[in-house]
Symmetry: C2
Subunit: 250 residues, 2 copies
């Protein structure tokens, strides 16, 4: 990938850079707030020193968010990997369920990654979105279902103009590589699904929902299963529900 940083200085710099991120993540894991002072203190440094590595607090947040997302995605992937590779539908359901569980276990991290306003700040932060690991995972998994079961997708020509642009030249995590331009309607279905998954999980995590439903996960399961038919999974609903509920029981 990137050229090896040969010089001693650069290796050192890279190391503390990584330590900043890992320390921040550890801080969050311990239930404390993320702050420059706290990170610096844990590293045996003073806060201003961090400005040698990070331009602002917000940049640290973005950095950490990216890494947190990467790490969390591994969990989502691992959840899918408990199933054979050809169970494409089951794998997506388990990853989605893992996403929900992660969000509930680590609401702070969830908020950092997924409820962190991006609109105001300009390009730099947007680009990170494009790289979002979790987004890639879910698109890949939906693509796998489509390639395996072949559910109907909208024709690119039938999409509204802005939607057409968005699926042909995506700015948001959506692995366009490997999807022919004619098949980009698949990304539209992905966005529909992601919207619903995001909605139910965010609603749950922020507590704007009956706690009994959060506890039981009933509305979450309902949301997933109601979307499944759009991916041609209408004949597999019972099995998928068992899969999801089994994982929720853990």
């Amino acid at each position: 990938m990137t050229v090896e940083p040969t010089t001693r200085r650069e290796r050192q710099r890279e190391a503390t850079y990584a330590e900043i991120v890992s320390t921040s993540i550890a801080l969050l894991r311990d239930g404390e707030d993320l702050s420059l002072r706290a990170v610096a203190q844990r590293m045996g440094m003073t806060a201003p020193a961090l400005y040698r590595y990070v331009a602002s607090y917000q940049e640290l947040v973005d950095l950490v968010a990216y890494e947190v997302d990467r790490a969390a995605t591994e969990r989502f992937r691992a959840a899918a990997d408990t199933l054979p590779e050809d169970d494409v539908a089951g794998r997506l359901c388990l990853s989605a369920t893992a996403f929900r569980q992660w969000a509930h276990e680590s609401p702070r991290e969830f908020g950092l990654v997924f409820a962190n306003p991006i609109a105001d700040t300009s390009c730099a932060r947007r680009e990170m979105l494009t790289l979002s690991s979790s987004g890639h995972l879910f698109t890949d998994q939906m693509k796998a279902i489509w390639e395996s079961n072949g559910f109907p997708i909208p024709a690119v020509e039938d999409l509204p103009p802005a939607a057409r642009e968005a699926v042909l030249d995506p700015l948001i995590p959506a692995e366009s590589e490997g999807v022919a331009e004619a098949d980009r309607g698949l990304l539209w279905v992905y966005m529909q699904g992601w919207t619903q998954l995001y909605g139910i999980v965010t609603l749950e995590v922020f507590g704007h929902m009956d706690p009994r439903l959060v506890e039981s996960g009933d509305l979450f399961v309902d949301t997933i299963l109601r979307f499944a038919p759009r991916m041609g999974l209408e004949h597999d609903l019972d099995r998928l529900e068992r899969l999801i509920r089994d994982q929720l029981a853990d």
Copy 2:
């Protein structure tokens, strides 16, 4: 409702109490952050004085959130009132669209009301949720559609146990009064719809979506129209889309 506060002192207290809230709202409207100091300064007071009225910053936030929600709901209602009372479907669509527009115009306020973690803090804040005006408005509007067009709703017995409890004895904004216990499946449909509306709007406001789609509103429109059939509106989609897009054009 509450007993009139007769004494002069109590009226005074009530007045400054209201002024605190209105000042906070004005602060937000001017694009500034909500803080005790800023509110106090605008009122010609010092920050600690506010503690005579509010136990903590979080309590102020909750207070303001409640009032902001109330005010915003009036906008949603006004949007619906541009249509005749018997156009129940159009009214819900316009309110939902107004909700989206409000969220984009006032992301700060939106975050305060709808992306404000409630889980950790205990009962007091939960109770405010139950009173959420916007929740009541949307349930009322969906009920109106159901009473007018009569779309299928799940039987209460068919719901998962937790879901059954949740619709029979709602903790979350859902005007149960006026809905017979046997018809409480309607609330389940409401929750499904609210989840999707909340999801698309939050996703848009937090910027985790292709800006071109946010600008055009295509995914929002798609979300609404795809849910409409569940309310028996499958024959009205074209008209509803025109209604929504007209309002988005403003």
